[in-house]
């Protein structure tokens, strides 16, 4: 499988990464090189093979459903590019 330029633009939008027209052509070549490389997996017979879900066999641990951390909004917001009144601030989302 290989990607065309429209697909590159669509994937860039899905990934929320702005791309310029110049970059689209470059990315198309690079993405197709990587996709061509992984194409060889088609040779492997995987009929009846379970996909890997946990590389070391283990049961997912459970914990009590209680609040164990928190109550320091100023620390949570300390690295925010924009914060107001104890909240993260973003451009207007709802019209």
């Amino acid at each position: 499988m290989s990607v065309d330029q429209a697909t590159v633009r669509r994937v860039a939008h899905l990934a929320r990464i702005a791309v310029t027209e110049d970059e689209v052509a470059h990315l198309q070549g690079e993405l197709n090189a990587i996709l061509a490389f992984v194409e060889q997996l088609g040779e492997v017979d995987t009929d009846g093979v379970e996909p890997m879900t946990s590389v070391i066999p283990m049961t997912l641990p459970l914990r009590a459903d209680v609040v164990s951390d928190g109550f320091y909004p100023e620390r949570v917001l300390a690295n925010a590019p924009a914060a107001e009144d104890g909240f993260f601030a973003v451009p207007k989302v709802v019209e």
């Binding site: 590159v8 990464i17 702005a18 993405l31 492997v44 379970e50 590019p81 451009p91």
Partner: protein, 493 residues
Amino acid sequence: MTDLTRLSLTAAREGLAEGHFTATELTQAYLGAIETAGALNAYVLATPEKALAMAKASDARYAKGEAGPLDGLPLGVKDNYAVEGVRTTAGSNILKNFVPPYESTVTSRLWGDGAVLLGKLNQDEFAMGSSTESSAFGPTVNPWRRAGSTQPLVPGGSSGGSAAAVAAHLCAGAAGTDTGGSIRQPAAFTGTVGIKPTYGRCSRWGIVAYASSLDQAGPIARSVNDAALLLRSMAGHDPKDSTSVDRAVPDYEAAVGASVKGKRIGIPREYRVDGMSPEIVALWDKGADMLRSAGAEIVDISLPHTKYALPSYYIVALAEASSNLARYDGVRYGERVPGRDIVEMYEKTRASGFGAEVRRRIMIGTYVLSAGYYDAYYLKAQKVRTLIKRDFETVFADGIDAVLAPATPSPAFGIGEKSGADPVAMYLEDVFTVTLNMAGLPGIAVPAGRSAEGLPLGLQLIGRPFGEEALFSLGQVIEEAAGRFEVSDRWWE
């Protein structure tokens, strides 16, 4: 006084315990070495004030007889470990001003055992690379050079800053991370020892995520024994990481020097890849002889799905990366580029904050997870991963204790040599290392010889799940036979 930065961790620990020098003096010696080594670009941030404060506290513990197993030993930490109050960037512009208000579990274990933080070490951006060239801080330079040449070489990656700092004696040891070879390949390129433990052995909590089902923390050190000492402190159960394993941590140092007599070592025929350099083949044979001389039995084995480890790795790793890195949206932390609306803000923020390799990997990961392609790529790769793990299970069930393989297809290469138009050329660096991450197995890289041009070459030992002790025993045999690898020309000073 002799140069304190020449001491092994064990010798430094003895010197501190016996009062030959203080943790403050040891730390000052390393801080002095860091100051003269700007040309290597191994550190992205030195933390001298914090280091001296930690050293002073360590001296007080020695005075009171309360010293921990790593007390007063100055370490460097890869920049993807969150250290409370210390800028943590993972080599990315998108995190260039990020100061974590929390501490990673592995580093808190190191400080809990008394270690001193010297600073944060350079890496490929988000650990995505095999040369440390993709860092937002520029490339790290390998302290090693080819005989008669001044051409700057890469230290490998992504833990290239860690490996270069250890090799150049800019820290007594370092904490790195390994997703596809990022501890073992730089260790091999710099003549140092690096171990990627079994998946789940070290907590991933507080480490900037790349590919969560593959990432593991581990040490880089100047000897097998030093690596064992560090891993003992780094490993252990952590309820904050649901994939962390609740299993006692053995005394890894006790395994160093243990007999390897009767151990069965597999030589996988599929690792003899096309175009492999004759000196790597010779090194591999030499390594087998070293282990045989120590009483191990060498057995030819087959790991039939080896060839498919790299392509399946690049699907699994990039898919997980695209998901993990979705968090960098310019809202909760990291840099923000304003836009007309929120979508444009996301797109501009991520286009400007991520470097080219990271953008490329996120886009591939997004593509392979997108509607209509999930089964063909991601599900297929996870099935192949099951087969890769089964290959190892089969040989271990047949009585193989460990597998011996090269760590890298070649010695360190020049800066710029593999960062051209074809990303796959760089990906091939990981051909011998990714299989372990895919199978969750531990692997140690130990320097074993030199290239014709005088550069260090490493061998890799692959163990059973939680078989780190056997790796330390076998690694020590190679270290004793091959000797230590020290950079003789300190050209950067």
